[in-house]
Amino acid sequence: MDWSPLWISLATSLTATAITLIAGLAAAAWRERRTGPMMALVDGIFLLPLVLPPTVVGFLLLLLLGRNGPLGKLLLRLGATVVFSWPATVIAAAVVAFPLMYLTARAALEQVDPHYLQAARTLGASEWRVFREVALPLAWPGVLAGTILSFARALGEFGATLLLAGNIPGKTETIPIAIYFAVEANELQRAAIWCAVDIGLSLALLAGLYHWTHVQGPGRAQWSRR
């Protein structure tokens, strides 16, 4: 049996999660300091991939990154084609997972008492240091939850990936896509195995999350020796 969908899925989800974590945190930190009517629009755009059907997201990405799309043309000039390549699976997964990261990171950053940040500023800290050494550690449990949600969403991504990356075995064929095409080809046993793998992965992920938050830290309990 060809195990490549497992490795592709893991590599795609991990990379997409890393990108989402940085982009989501940056977007949340940027957005937190701003108010105004334009911000409602910004929020709308950031959250759109959550509410749109993944096929719509995939189609829009195809328009954007395809050979005739504005970004696609630019990339082509640099000698790169994104569509139907492994990076396409990462892009599709990252875009679809982004809203979850953005929402949870923003909620986590917003609940940090602003007095801590102000105290840090009066103590001479730069804005970057305030974020990295005060805001982020205090918001970390929420950010971590967002990261895990994003990973789970990336792992399950199907519609946008299929449209943007297609189904190229050994290259863009992730577990959900492998299941779809196995069922379509009436290879039910293969589909069942991939389903079992997916269930196992998800359970491991949830158990790990539970262990991390309830048993080991990083909850607030760790900021106490008693």
């Binding site: 840090a120 009066t122 103590l123 205090l138 900021w223």
Partner: protein, 367 residues
């Protein structure tokens, strides 16, 4: 190291900022000593500190610390908080919960080499009596320890001014007097401007020799504390500094006013220069006169009846009605206050009792 100590006027503030329902509009200077900022909740005290610390921006004006302009709207200067070197003690202390006491104190010492920082941390820890608690997290400290840690952290940056936002209000009575002593020692060693916000006149009085009374964003009085207490300029300042008895006043002659709410004429100590709107007297300065020595025509002596009283462990407050008995419990003219032992001498006396409103104790107040 830059320091405000050399300048004649270390901290100079003249700012305006529009707030929700009034304008914060203050202009004052602070010397190298503690200055209490007294005012009721919502008078703009905290906002004033935040403007100095750089956490809020005034609409216009100037803030100068030593020879540095922290803020100057005309010159377009507004230093960010991190460049002001102004230590701030927040009302809830705002200790970083994810850092130990030592790490909290060390936060502002980033520019120093590690060895220098370590020396400085241990000095500060020692000075604030936190030895042995360095590795504790804030949530494992008592309120008083948290406050000392926050003080050590604020002092770590060697601030050119110290701002304290109601530092004692979160503590219980017992800790409060301990922390007051700690603050007095800190202030004595600090010798730079230390602005101390409070709504408690007793705290303000014990911790500083100068006071600034803030009311709805404006300075209602400023100066030496004894002077403000003895001669509050307005009814509001008198009330904020603990005065309980007021009556509208009309000038009768050069040294007599008619207290219309109390229904009596009162001689005052000094010739009246500016007609007062009110006359006031502090509760503890009202004297009782023994019936055997009462001269009913005596100066500022009036018969009175006790309407009700309320006690604290050592003191008693008496609610008095002047001239004639009657009315309900709420129909009193004056509140007098004294130690219970002293009251014991008068409590068995036959009515009417007699009080004397000493001309020296009367305060002539503007609107």
């Amino acid at each position: 190291m830059p320091s405000g100590q050399g300048a004649d006027v270390p901290l100079e503030i003249q700012i305006e900022k529009k707030l929700a329902d009034f304008v914060l509009d203050v202009s004052f200077t602070a010397a190298n000593e503690p200055l209490s900022i007294l005012g009721p909740s919502g008078a703009g005290k905290t906002m004033l500190l935040r403007c100095i610390a750089g956490l809020e921006q005034p609409d216009r004006g100037r803030i100068t610390l030593g020879c540095r302009a922290l803020y100057d709207s005309k010159r377009g200067i507004c230093l960010p908080a991190r460049q002001r070197r102004v230590g701030m003690l927040f009302q809830n202390y705002a200790l970083f919960p994810h850092r130990t006491v030592a790490e909290n104190v060390a936060f502002g010492l980033r520019p120093l080499p590690a060895a220098d920082a370590a020396t400085r941390i241990s000095t500060l820890i020692e000075r604030t009596h936190l030895t042995g608690l360095e590795q504790r997290y804030p949530r494992d400290l008592s309120g008083g320890e948290q406050q000392r840690a926050a003080l050590a952290r604020a002092l770590a940056i060697d601030p050119e001014a110290l701002l304290l936002d109601e530092p004692l209000s979160a503590l219980d009575t017992h800790l409060r007097s301990q922390m007051e002593t700690q603050l007095l020692l800190t202030f004595a060693a600090y010798r730079r401007p230390a602005l101390f916000v409070t709504h408690n006149i007793e705290e303000a009085y014990r911790l500083s020799s100068h006071m600034l009374v803030l009311s709805r964003g404006r300075i209602a009085a400023t100066g030496a504390k004894e002077e403000i207490l003895r001669h509050p300029p307005t009814v509001e300042v008198a009330r904020l500094t603990g005065c309980k008895n007021f009556s509208r006043a009309k000038v009768v002659s050069e040294n007599t006013v008619e207290a219309t709410d109390w229904g009596c004429r009162l001689r005052v100590a000094q010739p009246i220069s500016k007609p007062p709107a009110y006359v006031g007297i502090r509760a503890h300065t009202i004297e009782f006169i023994e019936s055997s020595v009462v001269d009913a025509s005596g100066e500022n002596v009036f018969p009175c009846w006790l309407m009700r009283s309320s006690e604290t462990p050592f003191r008693i407050t008496l609610y008095l009605r002047l001239h004639q008995p009657g009315g309900g419990q709420g129909d009193f003219h004056l509140q007098a206050e004294m130690f219970k032992e002293k009251w014991a001498r008068f409590r068995e006396c036959a009515y009417p009792l007699h009080v004397r409103l000493s001309p020296d104790a009367l305060m002539l107040l503007q609107e």
